[in-house]
Amino acid sequence: MGRFNYRLVAHIVGMMLIYLAGAMALPLSVSLLCHDGAQFALTFSALFTLMIGLLLRNFGGRGAAFEFHESEAAWITMAVWIAIPLCGTLPYLLTGAASSFTDAAFESFSGFTTTGSSVMELPEELPEGLLVYRAFTQWIGGLGLILFVVAILRKLGIGAGILYESEFSGTQQRKLHPRLARSVQRMWGTYIWLTAVLLTLLILTGMRPADALCTAFSTVSTGGFVTHSSGLSQLSNGSLMVVTAFMLLSGINLSVLFRLFTLRWRKIGPCEELVWYLGLFAAAAAVCCAAFLKSGNRLADSVLYSLFHIASTMSTCGFYLPQLPHWPLPVSAITFVLIIIGASAGSTGGGIKLRRIIILLRYTRNYFTRMVHPQAVVRVKVDNRIVPEVYVNKVFAFVFLYIAGIAIGAFALTLCGCTIPDAVCMASANISNLGPSPLLNNLGGALDYALLPEVAKWLLTLLMLAGRIELFALISIFSPAYWRQTT
């Protein structure tokens, strides 16, 4: 194996930054329209990002050999996922919204990883343009930055299949189109379509356009940034229902959604994960509703809030409603479990993902069959297809790493001075890309991301990133075997 192709990585990162600079045009135009005073900061951020991007592409990436090996995929993934959010800190720093680089990085990573954890105490006092930028970062990160990379690699004429595989092999779903580029296009189409419909509905149900834009970005990407410190409490009931429905949709595999919306129903085939997702949603919402009712809330409120809350938790969106400050114990318990389970594979949501849970359950059941019948040939099947043993092992490794991530994260946070419940809640909420602290406060503690020590903030940032890129890329670049292979 030759030397590690760092020039290619520089080239790709450079390209990504140029695109990011282009993306900053959207918040900039909002800023210009609203005269909120952030236009210079945003303009400068865009120019600066563009400059770094051009430098990286034209000097760092000059003469890059346009080929890479499977084992380098993790490096590319990591480089992109670190470089983009780092440059994404510029608007926070230049507008003065973040008091330190740590805060800016926390906010930026939280955005791109669609976590939605925030250190901004009073978002309503931030300039409109910055709010839109913040929500927009979630939207960009929603489908995963790797999809952008895939598009860029195609331009470079490199087989992007490797990266696509490493990102989406988990769903075992056939591509939406024989050609990778078309599949990616179709996913983006679905995503944009969802956002546009939601935006329209929100404006129709009486939201301010700028808020509606931010909320739509936050919902569809299952991020969770809000534009007001009181969460979504000032929304009309109509808007709440719309948001609930779209949170639920966003937790579904995008390929399934594409086929659903384009009426290719036959092609969806058996989709056990969707059935489980909806079943779990209905069951959890029913229990929550009963618990709210029992603690003396009105029926209409209980139904609406429990649907909203469970959709928000399962999709790992993380929106919260301050109307129901005191959760009965069952609601907290269910919430905690759902945070870890997360959404469907192939969706914008985070967490372990239901598909993996199904595989684990089936494997465990098979294990007992094997105990009684030692010679039995049993296979884990999802959607009537056998899940290869290799993949089952990967799921086990993943879940182990996930739990270990929560445990180690919680341990380290406790050392930073958090109480144990707070630490566990924060670790799991951030690795699952759920986010916002007010939601977690209902689980018991009184935590606030803004008041955490710097080390704890960086720790949470790392957890968000790990959860978002599904751990393996992060772990593998720290493993000695991987180093020996690629450098």
Partner: protein, 446 residues
């Protein structure tokens, strides 16, 4: 009838032999000239060495004037291709043997008709159907519906506690006056007997009887065993038949499937949902016991080896499994296996031949079934308008030895005939006949 058979495998060989006996003109096409030589020396037919997908070979075999083209090689794509070509070269009717049951789906039917494949036969699928039918209806070891279920044929074995042992057929009908049955044949020690009124029934006789449906429990009492419901079944061998059978049965029964080869287990695992698949040697009785052989109601042995099937079935029988079904490919084994107590023998060749014979029998035949254990055949005829049979009562009909009338269907009405019954035009008649008299019988109804 001019018939071309492509393929000299087991099915082809058997078909060729039995069709020659029925006085058809058979031409066999196969690439293996050695096998053909052997076949030609044993049977009166024409053989042509060559590929059935070569137009020249087909022409040589006289495809232009052939009434029926049967492609029964192992490879289904060759069969389909041969049929397509034969049809284009003016064969009247083509039948292909296939192994992928998906092709049989009704929605694919038109596509194959258009291509020129008139009928498709999947031996494994037919065998599976037999097995599932047998388990559905536990009184009869073999049964078959006529005219969409108006009449049913049962095969029962007379057990030691049967009340009719030592009695004649006429006495039986007197003893059970409420039971409307007609006994068409008795199989005793491998011999087929067409019974008279005074034929005495003995223990171990396999009795073919025709009756109306839903008589199962009454017939059960005659036979001397109580009807037992099958809840668990063990299938040995995950070849195509084993897999198909498990797939069909697993919806209603608890199935354990045992297979020695790992890849076959994997294949079964991807197809089946509920079945417990065990990778192990079926001749290892300890393994079978551990996997619940003693609690099994039915034992189905369908491995590739007839010997294994017969032996494991015997073992299961001895350990008290009530119903045993064995796949026996070696036709010489069939009567032997039935003698030693295996309930039912499935033979792919026989049932495939039986199925294919539907396309061959002259006259107005609607459906037919060849019976295992005997070379006799059950055929359903539509009686022609001017048929000889309509002129006399059955007593005066001069039915040849080796043939019996099992039942008559007139509109929606069913008649179990006596000697004084008169057959009318447009009736449907079920005939039990040995092959040598089949032509004579057919003439009666034309």
């Amino acid at each position: 009838m001019n018939i071309i058979i492509a393929g000299d495998g087991e099915v082809g060989f058997y078909l060729a032999k039995s069709l020659t006996e029925l006085n058809h003109n058979i031409t066999v096409v196969d690439p293996n000239s050695e096998l053909l030589k052997r076949l030609e020396s044993e049977t009166d037919l024409l053989t042509i060495a060559g590929s059935s997908t070569s137009p020249q070979v087909l022409e040589e075999a006289g495809v232009g004037s052939c009434d029926l083209f049967l492609a029964v090689l192992h490879d289904e794509s060759i069969n389909l291709m041969s049929c397509v070509m034969a049809k284009k070269l003016k064969a009247k009717k083509t039948v292909a043997r296939i192994s992928n049951a998906e092709l049989l789906l009704p929605r694919n039917r038109d596509m194959f008709l258009e291509l020129g494949v008139d009928e498709m036969v999947c031996p494994e699928r037919i065998a599976t159907k037999e097995i599932t039918n047998l388990l559905k209806n536990s009184v009869a070891t073999e049964f078959f519906d006529f005219s969409g279920g108006l009449l049913t044929m049962y095969l029962v074995r007379l057990e030691s506690d049967s009340p009719v042992l030592g009695h004649s057929v006429a006495e039986l009908l007197q003893m059970y006056s409420t039971l409307s049955v007609r006994i068409v044949a008795v199989l005793r020690n491998g011999m087929t007997i067409i019974p008279h009124a005074d034929t005495v029934l003995m223990q171990g006789d396999l009795v073919y009887l025709i009756s109306r449906p839903n008589q199962a429990d009454k017939i059960c009492r005659v036979a001397g065993k109580s009807e037992a419901e099958v809840k668990r079944a063990m299938i040995v061998g995950a070849g195509r038949i084993g897999r198909f059978a498990a797939q069909t049965l697993e919806e209603t029964l608890r199935i354990t499937l045992i297979e020695e080869s790992r890849p076959r287990c994997e294949e079964a695992a991807s197809l089946l949902k509920e079945t417990l698949i065990i990778n192990g040697d079926a001749t290892d009785i300890e393994l079978l016991k551990n996997e619940g052989l003693l609690r099994t109601d039915a034992f189905i042995a369908v491995t590739d080896s007839s010997e294994t099937n017969v032996l494991t079935c015997l073992h299961a029988k001895r350990l008290g499994v009530r119903r045993t079904i064995a796949l026996v490919e070696n036709t010489g084994f069939i009567s032997l296996s039935q003698d030693i107590g295996i309930d039912t023998i499935i033979n792919k060749k026989l049932i495939t031949a039986s199925y294919i014979s539907r396309f061959i029998v002259k006259g107005e035949a609607v459906s037919s079934k060849w019976l295992s254990g005997t070379n006799a055949e059950l055929i359903e005829f539509n009686v022609g308008k001017w048929a000889t049979a309509t002129r006399h009562t059955i007593r005066d009909l001069n039915l040849p030895q080796g043939a019996a009338i099992g039942g008559i269907i007139r509109g929606r009405e069913t008649i179990l005939p006596t000697r004084d019954t008169q057959i009318k035009a447009k009736d449907r008649v079920i005939i039990f006949a040995l092959p040598k008299v089949m032509d004579q019988v057919a003439k009666l109804f034309e």
